[in-house]
Symmetry: C3
Subunit: 447 residues, 3 copies
Amino acid sequence: MRAWRDPAWGAARPGQWQGRHRLCVGRSWPRPRAMAGLRQAAKTLGCAFPAGFQDVHVMIFVGFGFLMTFLQRYGYSAVGFNFLLAAFGIQWALLMQGWFHSFDGRYILLGVENLINADFCVGSVCVAFGAVLGKVSPVQLLIMTLFQVTLFSVNEFILLSLLEVKDAGGSMTIHTFGAYFGLTVTWILYRPNLYQSKDRQSSVYHSDLFAMIGTLFLWMYWPSFNSAVSNHGDAQHRAAINTYCSLAACVLTAVALSSILHKKGKLDMVHIQNATLAGGVAVGTAAEMMLMPYGSLIVGFICGIISTLGFVYLTPFLESRLRIQDTCGIHNLHGIPGIIGGIVGAVTAASANTELYGQEGLAFAFGSSTPSWNASTQGKFQAAGLFVSLAMALVGGIIVGVILKLPFWGQAADENCFEDAIYWEMPKDQKSTVFRSEDPALKASEP
Amino acid sequence: MRAWRDPAWGAARPGQWQGRHRLCVGRSWPRPRAMAGLRQAAKTLGCAFPAGFQDVHVMIFVGFGFLMTFLQRYGYSAVGFNFLLAAFGIQWALLMQGWFHSFDGRYILLGVENLINADFCVGSVCVAFGAVLGKVSPVQLLIMTLFQVTLFSVNEFILLSLLEVKDAGGSMTIHTFGAYFGLTVTWILYRPNLYQSKDRQSSVYHSDLFAMIGTLFLWMYWPSFNSAVSNHGDAQHRAAINTYCSLAACVLTAVALSSILHKKGKLDMVHIQNATLAGGVAVGTAAEMMLMPYGSLIVGFICGIISTLGFVYLTPFLESRLRIQDTCGIHNLHGIPGIIGGIVGAVTAASANTELYGQEGLAFAFGSSTPSWNASTQGKFQAAGLFVSLAMALVGGIIVGVILKLPFWGQAADENCFEDAIYWEMPKDQKSTVFRSEDPALKASEP
Amino acid sequence: MRAWRDPAWGAARPGQWQGRHRLCVGRSWPRPRAMAGLRQAAKTLGCAFPAGFQDVHVMIFVGFGFLMTFLQRYGYSAVGFNFLLAAFGIQWALLMQGWFHSFDGRYILLGVENLINADFCVGSVCVAFGAVLGKVSPVQLLIMTLFQVTLFSVNEFILLSLLEVKDAGGSMTIHTFGAYFGLTVTWILYRPNLYQSKDRQSSVYHSDLFAMIGTLFLWMYWPSFNSAVSNHGDAQHRAAINTYCSLAACVLTAVALSSILHKKGKLDMVHIQNATLAGGVAVGTAAEMMLMPYGSLIVGFICGIISTLGFVYLTPFLESRLRIQDTCGIHNLHGIPGIIGGIVGAVTAASANTELYGQEGLAFAFGSSTPSWNASTQGKFQAAGLFVSLAMALVGGIIVGVILKLPFWGQAADENCFEDAIYWEMPKDQKSTVFRSEDPALKASEP
């Protein structure tokens, strides 16, 4: 997301520069001779791309796609529309981020890190998709993606390039921005008669198992997500380990609270599918810093509680009082944990010092070698970044929401929400799903 | 697939040579002293194997396996027989490719790249399996695998070693060969009364969601597939980035055309599951060359259109007029895109020059340092490779088809096709799938 | 599991030491100057963590989780409780293994290898979970996890540190220990009236497909599992290749025997889901040694047979005669193959010599440079390790079983076993699972 501007990526990584492609045709780019040794190393070592790239890719397409298949009659749309908007979004993000960050005057240079950043950008669209799931048409989704990717790129440019905020796992740029953008859009698109589709706005047995595929791939690969664009070495390891610890702690409190809040002590699949992931969101900013494993465990512990409480108490409140219909409960999974992540990041950055990081480590982590840098200022800028993200999300969400409210985008009627049959050719006859007991007449043709 | 004979793999890669095993027992192989430094590097770096290996493995077993679970009553067979034939095929491929390529007179030497190549070889069998899905017995599948792996190895040897064709992602060797081999076999095995099983030759709601698991893992890991055996460094990065771009563009046109071609504008799961992947097939040859991202986007854009058109118009035509019953529509996903891939590869190779690749890059990509090499000749040999693959597929497919037509392989009767119960012990009583509403009598035993 | 104490990991690997975190806060740890060069290399190369880490993670959470979803009414619990116990177990394992192995007097140092080892430790709990699946409450599972992780750590310390046994893939420490621990627990928890839940102790069509997701991810990533903590370089490659070969051979014999043992020659999903994995268990100890690919093929071949025979004949015998109710048949998948793996490892170690490994290789693989080392002694210690693991499992299992037999852990009554509704809030109305044919009244609102 930003690491590619870092010296450690910009030139020092073999395979990095070489992988860069011009997006537009033209004459060949110069090949610095100094790269020869590193290129030899890359050839020798055979790391096609950073291990994290494919993991992030899986999270976007399988993780988010299947996480949203929990609705009984909206599985095709959940996984199919997520596929569509992500494939569209990454292309647009490559262009947008290319113009902002890797445009050399004539060409956009592409490397594997740009692909990761495009996936990240699309991640924020997937988050917003969760809020409007089941209530918008594919055309509306594509329009939303178009605008959101643009706004994301602007917001990211402000945070990372102007404010010089650190946000490797995107607590602010991806989760907070994506969640409040999506919530604002769904607030504008409020459907007063949505209760007409209420019977389809729940899961069935198998749809919840499909959703668990999404949950688990998101959960498992989140350490790769938060560390994918960190500075390599120390910071990247810290990010992976801290995220792993936070997620593990989050599962325990989410499960415990799910049982505690149920009148018969039963668990709720909604909490297991969603609240267990809040720990990954909440360390998105601080994971690459010296949050320490015990700090991560505490953050995950708290977020599991807050997120589960949100699903039980806050989501119904938002819907009934604030007219915010949040289908997947992204406010509890990405909204609040994202804000917590921004605050934790600001506090962790503000308390950075050479005793913790070492002289060299501090320069590497925050670029503290610039004379103007001090930890407290970094912390303030981190906090400012959080507010900028929120403001961009709210303003952008209102504009996009108003555009999407126009009546000619093919949106479904209130009684047809959460229904695949509106947009998909459905299997004709479902009687055959009921299995016929073994028919003795069925037999292999013998010679 | 072939890179292991490449100098960049043969000796220079640490972890490569060391991983080699003799398949047969005997005295220890010599250990060149010059490897010591590189071995130390490998120990130090801890890359167990190229990141792409496990990705390709996932594509073969989960990708192809689940892609074919779309049939309502053939999920066990789709994923189970795919598992069986792939496990058998990789062992046979290790032997076949070992005899052709890594036989040192006494032993077959095995390295991780041989495992990747075995997976690739089996990939072409999985493609062919898609054509005959639901109509052949496991015994027939094993026989087909036995012959197809053998033919694949011969064809690959002709293309890569004799014609010195470049085909890192296997547009020709894997997809074109596999598709036309499978289509020829299913043409020979034509069942005039297959309409008797027509009611089972469609999907149900959940089977389409299972198939999407396969689609997404194929789609996500295709950049690894096309780059897994490229020359490391430049070429491997190009391959991954170009494939990523082509696949993203392909999704958009496949979805758009699926909607456009439907009379009510609805989407068809068959197109989303299959046509979205055509972009990966079509850059299989050219991805590692200087196709450029914009070139990849164009190829993917076009293939999404052609593949979707194929599903709508060509597959019914093939079945009714040419008596080719192509269950999964592999002609649209692997056949035509494979040929396009071969042509794109030939054109891209023919237009290679030092301005685009640099002197060193051209030598690295095509071995242009041999005096006889020139780009136009390379292009012609690429085209020749495409025709050889087609010819091998047709001739081989006829022979294997005739063998499989013998009546004692346990094939199902026409009215029992696409039916798991022929080959599998089925769950007895399916009434329990219908969920009983929560029974108040069910309760945890309290102390 | 142990490799982090190995010189090859301890200091030589970049990214290793740097990733270490103190689990407890305190003053900064010293940074050896000699690391500078290697740290630079790690920054340059961008390998966030060993490729095997995420693969092992996927096996624990998706592999084991979905493997156990085969029961028709226990999918939520299978995947949800596995998620819960694994998330709890890895935190406890980080602490336990930290105290045993990476405690520096004030802090537990954490690196990515510790995360892998925690996953491994939890793997043995997942194995034991398979034996008690459907019959214990989540509270019982957490208690079992607490004790089993502790015992695992003690057993591992005895084997790896005191007996200096080699067991990279955990045939003894993970599989044998986990299986016999779980079997002992389920023996103590014997439910004479379990037949009352017999109608739910089977699969339905879709639950078997979900289970195949688990099977395939376990099968595909097993080479990573067995090689994740091997010494890098030679040993790691050997481990991956040998495991790959053993697994491939195992699939063929498991499928063949499944068909042979069925009276009509049909295949049984239980065997395909489980017995195909026995080959990975059985080379867990020897994979990193000079087992040779042909040796692996033989081991896999035999284990496919034994495991399938076990499912057909041994599991019913254990239940009816020995009162061991083994829900998932872990005795056939982890118990017997684990013992075979221990024996194969002992024999392979006892036959190690410099002709096979080279002087340097032998020192690297077994630490043979210590004067007291000889192959035959190593073999004897390997065998001793197997008996220690069995003894620990039996004694520990009895103690934990007795604790779990106490009547106040919320366990289900005999007639409510294998039932999600006891512990989970279930979807209310399942009539909607039956698909309504396309309703013409459903249409998108047009402008």
